[in-house]
């Protein structure tokens, strides 16, 4: 498949690969996808008291587009407020990487990963306040 230079660059030099401490109350973890479907994304966001995303890390099992989408998302959300990050649409990710039509689901997964990580962070906060 012919991929854009941007996609190949994110795949070959992925940004922010790794893991943050799951137990850290400031870290939200999103794990989306399924091994049987051929892609699983783990996105972790470290969010401070002001709701600013200070750090982002990912690990992804999936094709080149899935890895590139994850890498791109980590670079996009860093420094954003969670409410802003929640607004990221898969179409922005797909357009940025020029994903071919059969790979659009990779961008959907990346959007889901952001939402899942933020939801996990909020759940942790609520549990801590309760």
């Amino acid at each position: 498949m012919a991929y854009s230079d941007k996609l190949i660059n994110h795949y070959e030099n992925p940004q922010n690969v790794g893991s943050l401490d799951k137990a850290d109350p400031e870290v939200g973890t999103g794990l989306v996808g399924a091994p049987a479907c051929g892609d699983v994304m783990k996105l972790q966001l470290k969010i401070n008291d002001e709701g600013i995303i200070e750090d982002a890390r990912f690990k992804t099992f999936g094709c080149g587009s899935a890895i590139a989408s994850s890498s791109l998302v980590t670079t996009m959300v860093k420094g954003m407020h969670v409410e802003q990050a929640e607004q990221i649409k898969n179409s922005e990710i797909a357009a940025e990487l020029s994903l071919p039509p059969v790979k659009i689901h990779c961008s959907v997964l990346a959007e889901d990963a952001i939402k899942a990580a933020i939801a996990d962070y909020r759940k942790k906060r609520e549990a801590a306040q309760a």
Binding site: V32, A34, A36, C37, M41, F61, C63, G64, L109
Partner: protein, 407 residues
């Protein structure tokens, strides 16, 4: 010494046309360019002579006679002609066919087409090692069964079916046996008589010949097999396949058969087995959680199909761009479904997504294999470092215990 890049390890997809084959073909484009059907001048006679010599050469590779070879445009046509041709010719005897779920699409889709026209087809499952159970076959044969189609060797996993036993069962029941031998010619010894094969498909480009040419062996005696043509016209090839013969292509297939037989008779084919085993041993030495798909014992000498657990196949192919291989991953297919062959073996979808097919060949060198081992080791490790699944497994988490959300 560093090998020349890129490295071709996809010889189950197609092969390089042997330069000796190309050389033999060329005069039949520019000098001996007659129509083999021109009966009344020397151009036609020379073309016909070349075609008949090639027929002898192809027949010698499979233990048949020259008169039993029908030229086609390739193995897809050979499979269509064999299955649809026999089904139609023998329909007064019955309209039931038997094949196997791991067959090539050219066989399966020919069967699907016949199903739409009123035939009934039984698709037999294989054992987890990819091999057909003979009792399953025996149980499926009915009085109205006219044809059994089973491949000699599988295109994805290289698994070799017990065709001699299958042939004996078919003969015993008076059923025609078609064998798609595309992947096997020149890699394993074939004898259509000893194996009781009635129809056998051959492809040029899978055995170092040109693309666009194939052959169908059609048994002429004990029993004589009849086919209804699917391409009508001038009545070439004893009425079974009309169309002016592409003499240069046929000469190429003939020469490819000669060199394929040479590889077998001289034992040169064992060099591919040695390199294949070297590749597998090298990978296993460096990496954990590798899984072979299909029987390692009953397998083509040049094929290796491995699942690199927790690393998606297309991502791995992107990472080893200097090495040409194939993957059973969904992401390499337009359908987004993982390999139906691997699924038929019971390989779980998560492992099917991580499979890579290596096809070594006549021109593969030890330097290339060693380069492949080193590059795969580096890139699989790199992708596993990035894989949340590998991380979870290393943390002792059972992936099956997690509620994954399918999407």
């Amino acid at each position: 010494m560093a090998p020349k890049l890129p490295i071709y390890l996809d010889n189950n997809a197609t092969t390089r046309c042997d330069p000796r084959v190309v050389e033999a073909m060329l005069p039949y484009l520019t000098e001996t360019y007659g129509n083999a059907a021109s009966r009344n001048h020397s151009f036609g006679w020379a073309a016909e002579e070349a075609v008949e010599q090639a027929r002898e050469e192809v027949a010698a590779l499979i233990g048949g006679t020259a008169k039993e070879i029908v030229w086609t445009s390739g193995a897809t046509e050979s499979n269509n002609l064999a299955i649809k041709g026999a089904a139609h010719w023998y329909q007064s005897k019955g309209k039931h066919l038997i094949t196997v779920t791991t067959e090539h699409k050219a066989v399966l889709d020919s069967c699907h087409a016949l199903e739409r026209d009123g035939w009934e087809v039984t698709y037999l499952d294989v054992k987890p090692d990819g091999i057909l159970d003979l009792d399953t076959l025996r149980a499926a044969i009915r009085p109205e069964t006219t044809l059994v189609s089973v491949m000699l060797a599988n295109n994805e996993i290289g698994v070799i079916q017990p065709v001699a036993e299958i042939g004996a069962i078919c003969r015993e029941h008076g059923v025609i046996f078609h064998c798609d031998a595309v992947q096997a010619t020149g890699k394993v010894a074939i004898d259509v008589n000893a194996m009781n094969i009635d129809l056998l498909s051959i492809s040029g480009h899978k055995m170092y010949g040109p693309k666009g040419i194939g052959a169908l062996y059609v048994r002429r005696a004990r029993p004589r097999v009849r086919l209804q043509a699917i391409i009508d016209g001038g009545g070439h090839e004893r009425g079974m396949r009309s169309g002016t013969l592409p003499v240069h292509q046929i000469v190429g297939l003939g020469k490819a058969a000669v060199y394929a037989k040479e590889d077998l008779d001289s034992g040169k084919i064992d060099e591919q087995r040695r390199l294949r085993d070297r590749l597998w041993a090298g990978l296993q030495e460096n990496l954990d959680e590798l899984y072979i798909n299909g029987s390692m014992e009953q397998r083509l000498p040049n094929n290796l199909n491995v699942s690199f657990a927790y690393v998606e196949g297309e991502a791995l192919m992107m990472a080893i761009r200097d090495i040409a291989v194939s993957s059973g991953s969904a992401c390499t297919s337009a359908s987004l479904e993982p390999s139906y062959v691997l699924r038929a073996l019971g390989v779980e979808a998560e492992l099917a997504h991580t499979s890579i097919r290596f096809g070594l060949g006549r021109f593969t060198t030890e330097e290339e294999v060693d380069y492949a081992i080193a590059l795969l080791t580096e890139k699989v490790r790199w992708l596993r470092e990035m894989s949340p699944l590998y991380e979870m497994v290393k943390e002792g988490i059972d992936l099956k215990s997690i509620q994954w959300e399918a999407h």
